[in-house]
Symmetry: C2
Subunit: 322 residues, 2 copies
C-alpha cells in the first residue's frame, strides 16, 4: 500500500500520521506539544522524530508500506512554490524554509500549504465536503482559519493568502482584533473571543457555574470551559454559545452570498456544542443569505476532527506529485 | 469580421451593441428606457427592435459583418442552463424564458448570464481586469452587483447565484436592506443608500448646497445630485462620498481577504467622484485587509463605463459557443 505522511504544524500541537493513498485511513497518528518557545530547530527535530516513529509504526502494521513523501500544513502566510513560511507569530518563524528542511531530514519529497487549506483539502477529499464542487471550511481555534474549494480545486488566490475568513469585517466599528483591525469575525467567534465575552459578562455581574468551575480565577476561563458549562446547561454559557452561533452565522452567510457553495464545514472545538450551535447558526444564515444560495448549501460539522489537517496535507502532496 | 450582439437588460435602461469578436469595438450601440411597467412583451419587443437596428447599423459600417449570436445579461437570480430569469423584482419577471424568446425572434443562438457577471466578463476580457487570473467587480447602481473571476473563469457557484456581494453584512445590527436583512453593504453604499444618508443629514440640520439644488424637495435627491455637489466642493456631499468610500472599503477588504484577487474593479456612477472616492477607499482597505493580499491587489475604476455589460454578455456567448 502507498502512504503519504501528513504533518499538521499548530501553534500548540504537532500532529503527524501516515495517510493511505485513498485517504480513508491514518496509521501511526501522534500528537505532541509544538514547543515553539524552544526555537525552530527544536520544532523541526520533533517533527522528524515523530515522522520516523509514524513510519516505523506504519511498517509494522503493513510490511509492504511504500511511504512516498510528506505533506506539511503550517500557519501562514507562506510561499507554496518556494516551500517557505513567511511569518508566523504563533511559532516565531520568519522566512523559514520548512518544506526543504523536513524533506532533507527525511530524505523524501515534501509539499507545503496553509494549515486551514489542508483542513479544507481533507474534508473535501474524504470528509464532510466530499464530492462538492464548491465548498468552504471555517476552522475555529485560537484564530479562525478558512479554506475554499472552487470548481473542485483549493483556492489560493494571487499570492497564496486567499480564504482569510477570520478577518472579514462583520461590525465596521466593532471589537478590536489581534490583527489590528476592528470588527473581524475572529474578534467575536474564535476560542479566545468566546472566553473574553464570557469573562466580560461575569465581570458585569452575570451568574454562572463557570465562576466556581475556575475557583474564581476568571483568567483561567477558556472556550473549552464554556463548552463544558453549556453542555451542563449553564444559562450564561448557553447564551455565549448562542451569540457565537449568531456571529459565526454572519460570517457563514457572507461566504454563502459570495461563493454559493454546496457545503460549509465548521471545524474545531466549538462543534462540541452540537445543535446548540448549529440551530441558531443556521437560523442566522437563513435570515441573512440569499435564499437560492441557502437552499443550495448544507452547513455541517467537520467529519475528521483531529485528523483533517494531516489527511489534507497528504492530499496536497498527492495532488502536487500526481 | 465576426460580431456578437450584447444585450444588457437593466431595471432602468436597455443597452444593445454589436461587439467585435476580439472585444475591442462596439458598433451600433444604443440605450433606451426599459419600460418594464408596460410588461414583458413590450420589453422583449423593444430588445428585438433595438437589436435589429444595431445589426443594420453594423452591416452599413461593415458589409462583410457576420453576426453570429446574442449574449444577454439580465438581473438575476436566473437559471443559465435553461436560459430562464427566475425572479426579477425590478422588471416584474417570474420564470421568464428570455434567452429562447429573444433567440427565436432574432433567429440566432443566444446565451444568458447575470448582468453583474457580464460586467465582470467585459472588464476581464478587454477592460480594467484584463489578464488577471483572479478578479472582482463591484457594480454600484440601484443595488450593488458583483462579479468574480477565479482562475480565469467566471464564478457561478453551486446554483448560479455567487457574487451577491451587495448583500454581505458589514454591520451585524446595521441598516435594514431592501432584501430584508440588516447591515448589508448595499444598505450603505448603493445609489439610493447614498441619497438616503444625505437626506438624513439634511433633515438633521446639516448645511449644504444640495438643498437649494433640489429647491427644498429632499425626495428629489439622488446619488447623482450628491456626486455633482461633491464635484463642486460641497462639504456635506464630500462627507457622504467619504463615508461611502469607507463602507465600500469594508466590502472590498472582505472580498480581498476571502479571494486574494489581483484586481478589484469599481464600476458605476460613484466612480465619477474619482480620487475623492478612491483615496479614502484604498485607505480603508489598507487598514482592514491582510497586508500580503493588499499588496497583491490593484483597486481601480472600470474601464468600460456604459458598455461593460454589453461587451461581457458577448464574451459569455463566445465562451459558450467556442
Amino acid at each position: 500500500m502507498r502512504y503519504v505522511l501528513g504533518v499538521d504544524i499548530g501553534g500548540t500541537n504537532l500532529v503527524v500520521g501516515a495517510v493511505t493513498e485513498d485517504g480513508t485511513r491514518v496509521l501511526g497518528l501522534r500528537s505532541e506539544p509544538t514547543g515553539a518557545v524552544h526555537g525552530a530547530d527544536h520544532v523541526i527535530d520533533r517533527i522528524v522524530t515523530m515522522a520516523e516513529a509514524t513510519m516505523a509504526e506504519t511498517r509494522r502494521g503493513d510490511p509492504e508500506a511504500d511511504i512516498s513523501g510528506v505533506g506539511i500544513g503550517s500557519p501562514g502566510p507562506l510561499d507554496r512554490t518556494a516551500g517557505i513560511v513567511l511569518l508566523t507569530p504563533n511559532l516565531g518563524w520568519v522566512n523559514m524554509p520548512v518544506r526543504d528542511r523536513i524533506a532533507e531530514r527525511l530524505a523524501m519529497p515534501a509539499s507545503l500549504d496553509n494549515d486551514a487549506n489542508c483542513a479544507m483539502a481533507g474534508e473535501w477529499w474524504v470528509g464532510a465536503a466530499q464530492g462538492a464542487r464548491h465548498a468552504v471550511t471555517f476552522t475555529l481555534g485560537t484564530g479562525i482559519g478558512g479554506g475554499i474549494v472552487v470548481d473542485g480545486k483549493l483556492l489560493h488566490g494571487a499570492s497564496d493568502v486567499a480564504a482569510e475568513i477570520g478577518h472579514i469585517t462583520i461590525e465596521t466599528n466593532g471589537r478590536r482584533c489581534g490583527c489590528g483591525n476592528d470588527g473581524c469575525l475572529e474578534a467575536y467567534a474564535s476560542g479566545p473571543a468566546i472566553a473574553r465575552r464570557t469573562i466580560e459578562a461575569l465581570e458585569a455581574g452575570a451568574e454562572s457555574s463557570i465562576q466556581s468551575a475556575v475557583r474564581g480565577d476568571l483568567a483561567a476561563i477558556s472556550a473549552q470551559t464554556v463548552y463544558e458549562a453549556a453542555a451542563a446547561g449553564d444559562p450564561l454559557a448557553l447564551e455565549v454559545v448562542q451569540d457565537t452561533a449568531k456571529y459565526l452565522g454572519v460570517g457563514v452567510a457572507n461566504l454563502i452570498n459570495i461563493l454559493n457553495p454546496e457545503v460549509v464545514v465548521i471545524c474545531g472545538g466549538v462543534t462540541q456544542a452540537g445543535e446548540r450551535l448549529f440551530t441558531p447558526l443556521r437560523r442566522e444564515v437563513n435570515r441573512r443569505a440569499f435564499r437560492p444560495a441557502v437552499q443550495a448549501c448544507r452547513i455541517v460539522p467537520g467529519a475528521l476532527p483531529g485528523t483533517a489537517g494531516v489527511v489534507g496535507a497528504a492530499k496536497v502532496f498527492l495532488d502536487a506529485h500526481a
